[in-house]
């Protein structure tokens, strides 16, 4: 039994499509370019994407509004042995993958529905980096109003073969609004550098990774930056501050706080106060090294504790 849904009047077609859950809509969009165009142009479509990556959990969440309870679909990348009779092949941006849909779930109080798709691991590899990147980039391309709101990465025990070059190959096209990086792994330094080098991070950057490549500092260009206990030395900071002052590519930085356990700058001379148009050390901060640098173009604060 077939039904020519695209031959309905537009309002009726929209009424049908608005009653289909998001994962089915995304499946429809895979059918042709025209289908993708129609699905992408529907009103009330997802506006926010959140990506979580850690050892055990790799998720993509889509939200309709800013509130958490408006989550409309979830893509789970887990250690699941996908049986072929349960799974079905789907192709996102040319990447074949096994997906199994779970029934839609309803949150009764707010009458919000979300649906989830499990994406299984390929037999030859135990990593879903390519699939995750393909799905994320496909969804961002499909829903034009959808922004990559948050990327939250916990490097602890993250699989070594989970490569950011594969997962985030699309990030040069889609800026990340907020990036959170936690803990460390063998590759965390290189992978953090890859993201900072290739992607615009617009609003906030919070790093809690100790092993960071000092070169990362030279690619910072985010409104609000907080770095917790990175393993930088004073000269790395100095290079950063100099570049920050004179580079046009770091103009988005509004404030940056770098928290270190040790006093990373022990001598005043390391920072040339006059050339940086800076105020003297604030002696009231009792043993901490606190610095406020006023730049000519923007007026950011640099805090080194």
């Amino acid at each position: 039994m077939s039904f020519p849904v695209f031959k309905l009047p537009f309002l009726a077609m929209e009424c049908v499509l608005h009653q289909i859950d998001d994962c089915d809509l995304i499946d429809i969009s895979l059918c042709s370019k025209r289908c993708a165009k129609i699905i992408g142009s529907l009103s009330h479509m997802p506006t926010k994407m959140v990506i979580f990556i850690s050892f055990g959990l790799k998720h993509i969440f889509l939200y309709r509004k800013d509130e958490e309870y408006f989550c409309c679909s979830t893509w789970e990348f887990e250690f699941v042995d996908m049986k072929k009779e349960q799974a079905s092949n789907r192709k996102f941006n040319g990447v074949d993958m096994f997906c199994a849909k779970r029934p839609s779930k309803w949150r009764n109080q707010r009458q919000i529905c979300w649906s989830s798709v499990q994406v299984g691991y390929r037999e030859r590899e135990d990593s879903n980096d390519v699939e995750m990147g393909a799905i994320a980039s496909y969804l961002l391309g499909l829903f034009k109003k959808c922004k990559l709101h948050t990327v939250d990465i916990d490097f602890h025990n993250l699989q070594n073969n989970f490569k950011f070059e594969n997962c985030f190959s699309f990030i040069s096209k889609f800026p990340i609004e907020n990036l959170k990086l936690k803990r460390d792994s063998e590759n965390s330094s290189a992978q953090t550098l890859y993201i900072l080098k290739n992607c615009q991070i617009l609003n906030t950057l919070v790093t809690e990774t100790k092993s960071m490549d000092p070169e990362s500092l030279l690619y910072l260009n985010t409104a609000d930056i907080k770095m917790w206990f990175p393993n930088f030395n004073p000269f790395d900071f100095l290079d950063f501050v100099k570049k920050w002052k004179f580079s046009k590519n770091m103009g988005r930085i509004g404030s940056i706080y770098i928290f270190c356990k040790n006093k990373v700058i022990t001598r005043k001379e390391l920072l040339d106060c006059e050339s940086l148009n800076a105020k003297p050390w604030d002696s009231r901060k009792l043993g901490r090294i606190y610095r406020s640098v006023n730049l000519i173009v923007s007026k950011p604060n640099l805090g080194i504790q």
Binding site: M1, S2, F3, P4, V5, F6, K7, L8, P9, L11, A12, C15, V16, L17, H18, Q19, I20, D21, D22, D24, D27, I28, L30, C31, S32, K33, R34, C35, S43, H44, M45, R64, C72, S88, N89, R90, K101, Q111, I112, C113
Partner: protein
């Protein structure tokens, strides 16, 4: 005085003047006539506005010709009016913008829509044309339910979704049909090119 202690008065129900219900007459494009109550018509915004604008009295309804609905056939219109009569007096839902829409198909509606997809298509078309919000919602819900648990390949078959190649072919055909002169000019240009002419004009 409490309600329990109030005196019981026998009422002659026949003596109470009952407001006569008005039934409008509508005619489908295949000349089938339907009589529909005023209350049922309120489910359709289009028809409700139409009859309001006409300002018919009870006599007018009987004496004047039936209101023609030229875009809808009798079989579809029968379903529409059956639905309207069953749901008369019910509140018309307001779109709150929630997606996916939460719509449940009542038993009566499910039985009514136990029809082939061709007729269901016409029913949705009619509900959209007559602006019957709830009928549109439930009928679209039935179509939306067809997508559940389907793979993209199955969805393509269920919803008759054309592939990129089919879309391209349809687009070309539409362009050619729209502007036959352009095709003639193109053919003439190709012909001259084959003959080795270096100037078209």
């Amino acid at each position: 005085m409490s309600v329990e202690n109030a005196p019981v008065v026998d009422v002659d129900e026949a003596a109470i003047p009952v407001e006569k219900k008005m039934y409008y007459r509508f005619e489908s494009n295949d000349k089938k006539e339907f009589r529909v109550s005023e209350l049922a018509i309120q489910q359709s915004e289009t028809l409700n506005r139409l009859v309001e604008a006409m300002g018919y009295t009870s006599e007018d309804v009987e004496n004047k010709p039936a209101i023609a609905i030229e875009n809808i056939d009798g079989k579809t219109l029968k379903l529409v009016f059956q639905w309207c009569e069953h749901h008369k007096g019910e509140a018309i839902p307001v779109d709150d913008g929630s997606v996916p829409k939460i719509v449940e198909i009542p038993e009566f509606d499910a039985k009514l829509m136990d029809i082939d997809n061709g007729l269901l298509f016409k029913l949705i078309w009619a509900a959209d044309y007559l602006n019957i919000v709830q009928l549109l919602n439930v009928s679209c819900k039935k179509v939306a339910n067809m997508a559940q648990g389907k793979t993209p390949a199955q969805l393509r078959r269920v919803y008759l979704l054309p592939s990129d190649e089919e879309d391209e072919a349809a687009k070309r055909a539409a362009q050619e049909a729209q502007d036959p002169r352009a095709r003639e000019v193109e053919e003439e240009f190709e012909e001259r090119k084959r003959q080795g002419g270096n100037s078209f004009f």
